[in-house]
Symmetry: C2
Subunit: 480 residues, 2 copies
């Protein structure tokens, strides 16, 4: 309640007390003294503190609620809405791709920023053989226009692949795409209109945010917990904003590495159904599992037809393939198909036919197994190395994936990132994953393209900088 002590009400003013109180609360929000989703004091308590009637506080809260600045939750209290009204009526500034620092990557660079696997792990020989099989078998047809929805035999083999992961669907529900980013793009086109609201996890993948913004959509960030999105905050926001969809990553979320619990998966589908919205599940890494937890996509539980499932093989197979697929609820099939046609007509027939053979030959099973074995070693070593730095950092152990989301103590992570860059070590700080200008004390450390034997070197460089920062005895309070 400390923030509220500062509120001064003028009893002799012409302005009603409840309006003065409303404005005071609004100012506190504007000054960032009250944060999104923070709980407001109980009515009686605030009335006592300010020496006003209960009804003054009730009216002030109601006034702000009508403006969507606050929201109330039955039996729980009143909260700060995640986006103040004036933001909802303007566009969030575009992320400018061009202001990114250009970084020269050499073979000496310790690249803990990328989540793309090393090119030497790509199954190039398998693909070369299959490419030639396609060219011998299909000739010019491999280079002709394809059905916009995708090559039918491939959509059939994708159904088999999905069945293996407990997702049951039919070829008519599948849309072939040129990579996950295109999946996001055509869903934007097919589902979003200018000014629509959608939800994303906070933090999340900026490439998705940039695309949604380019459609003129309003984006609301919902915080993540260790087992998935914060369901209370989610529901409160659903009541207020009727989102077109919620964009999530159910496994090894980028950047936090968290995976959704079974309970949260079920609850999420129920909520989507209750509030008549969709969930876009971006399964960008699924299957790269080092734990005993089974890998079952959210889509497998989708008995309400609420999940739009995007699957790419870019990350764990070959990013330059530019290939993936979406499984769509019947209701939105046609608008997404039309969006694909308007976007680039169809995905390369040669790649589609080659990937069809790749799936049918079950080569993907062998590849995923090899990738798991290969990356589990790096994962375990990175965890071991990081645990020697427990005075300076902490992390939630992910069940799989290619990175660890590390929380630093008493360290300015932007400063740390810059110092690491000067030592030819690349990392991804938290600011790369949210619209919120606030700096969180997190860095994503990826092991997708760092040789096993160089992991200790990377960690010792981090250690050196962190310890020298601390030795300067500048105690910086963590912001989150």
């Amino acid at each position: 309640m400390n923030e509220f002590v500062s509120i001064q009400l003028e009893r002799n003013s012409k302005e009603p007390l409840y309006l003065q109180l409303s404005n005071s609360i609004y100012s506190l929000i504007e000054q960032n003294k009250l944060r999104s989703n923070a709980k407001l004091p109980a009515i009686r308590k605030l009335a006592e503190l300010l020496k006003v009637n209960n009804s003054t506080v009730v009216n002030a809260y109601k006034h702000l609620e009508n403006k969507n600045i606050l929201y109330s939750q039955k039996g729980s209290g009143t909260y700060i809405s995640p986006i103040p009204l004036e933001k909802l009526s303007t566009n969030i500034p575009q992320i400018n791709q061009t202001t990114k620092h250009h970084v020269e990557i050499t073979k000496d660079t310790l690249n803990l920023a990328t989540i793309s696997i090393s090119p030497e792990l790509f199954p190039v020989q398998d693909f070369k053989r299959l490419l030639n099989t396609v060219l011998d078998k299909d000739g010019g047809n491999a280079f002709n226009y394809q059905d916009s929805q995708g090559y039918l035999p491939l959509r059939e083999s994708i159904c088999d692949y999905l069945g293996y992961h407990n997702v049951r669907t039919t070829p008519d529900k599948i849309q072939i795409i040129s990579g996950a980013q295109q999946g996001i793009d055509i869903l934007s086109k097919g589902l979003l209109h200018y000014g629509d609201v959608l939800f994303v996890e906070k933090p999340t993948y900026r490439g998705a945010i940039a695309n949604f913004q380019s459609r003129g959509a309003k984006i609301i960030e919902i915080p993540l917990e260790e087992d998935g999105i914060d369901l209370d905050v989610l529901e409160n926001n659903m009541k207020l904003f009727h989102p077109k969809f919620i964009y999530i990553m159910s496994y090894y979320q980028n950047p936090t590495g968290i995976s959704y619990s079974l309970e949260k998966k079920h609850a999420l589908i129920k909520l989507a159904n209750k509030y008549d919205t969709y969930i876009i599940e971006d399964d960008y890494l699924g299957g790269l599992n080092y734990s005993n937890e089974p890998y079952i996509p959210l889509k497998a539980f989708d008995y309400k037809n609420r999940v739009i499932y995007i699957k790419t093989f870019s990350k764990i197979l070959m990013p330059g393939l530019r290939f993936g697929f979406i499984v769509l609820p019947q209701k939105i099939l046609q608008s997404v198909l039309a969006a694909k046609h308007t976007t680039d007509i169809a995905t390369s027939g040669l790649i589609q036919r080659t990937f069809d053979l790749y799936l049918r030959s079950n080569l993907w099973k062998k590849h995923i197994k090899e990738m798991c074995n290969y990356y589990q070693k790096r994962y375990e070593l990175l965890v071991l190395e990081l645990s020697t730095l427990s005075d300076h950092l902490s992390f939630v152990l992910p069940h799989g994936g290619l990175s660890i989301w590390v929380k630093f103590k008493n360290v300015n992570v932007e400063d740390l990132t810059a110092k690491l860059l000067s030592k030819n070590v690349l990392v991804s700080p938290a600011s790369a994953f949210s619209l919120d200008p606030e700096i969180y004390p997190y860095i994503r450390l990826s092991f997708a393209d760092v040789e096993l034997e160089r992991i200790p070197e990377a960690i010792s460089i981090i250690k050196e900088i962190v310890q020298s920062q601390n030795n300067k005895a500048i105690s910086i309070e963590p912001l989150l």
Copy 2:
């Protein structure tokens, strides 16, 4: 002036005469009795006809001009604006891809609708050899993420290719795309905001219109003449609407087959500069030339940096390649690059590297020459066959390309199209190429995928239907 005779003004009404006259003219526009860009009567003449003062007509014209319903041109007169105000404030309805008839194409089908070349003409063996060269040489790198702008050696070889066609540019101005449709898509994203106005040729390619519409843009269609866009109508509209860009096809325009004269090319660049806008030149077929006229893209004359040049090889090489490039003016480079990144990160590295070798080996020169020889025979035969039907149709002879835009006399082309379909002959009627619901008496007949020996068969089926239509002695006045 016939339409104006019907105007009735009430001299005893409270409503001023000039407003009554304004409303009457507006009604005539609404009833389609006055068409876009039609010239209004001279002030004195209309005043005489309606027995009112000159000032009444002046005020009525001015009133409608203020509402952008009319526009005036100095020394020339007053005209009907191409889009009435109320249309400018609402969205033009989306083209619905899904309502298209689904047509079963068999080997018996006479497909004069497609402008994609026959798959047996694709240089598959050359590509197969080059693909394998890339895989042997580059291994996994061919499947890794590529620079969003495109593979640098390819951008260099594109500069050489362009130099051969008198377009001089540098690799930093080139953006690699996954086909021309994606070029249109990322230009939409990079340049258009909701509600922006742009111009297209009338008629034009519907895939472009559908994309621009999906960005919430307002589209104004500017009529074509035999040597390019109507410059007077264009300039009048530029004064009124400040378009973000003008989308044109400079060679063998789709669907009309016309090519721009040298004079119109120069004039177009001058106008774009004067009114501070861009021209998107979609060079979808350029080079497939059967005349002695040289093939020089508009971009070659672009001394003012006003031309955005989209080049695809889909149509004359292999549509399933999903490959092309854009040459961009410096000023818009960064926003288009960001749009590409948001859309699909990058175009397939394997295809880019293979195409680089294809360009460097100069195999494209051989291929274009072969295509020209091959299609010129079909073109000449189709022209010959059509000339036997001169009682029923006429056409402007295109300098090249893959189709002829045929104007029918006393024939309902929608009816003709349906009858042809029932006889397994596919054609593209005018309604497929414009937003205007008015039916023009044109059909596009393409010879991209009809065997030479079957062209007479197709024409004889058309002849049969047309003659039987005429024998019914239902004289339908051509609408254009």
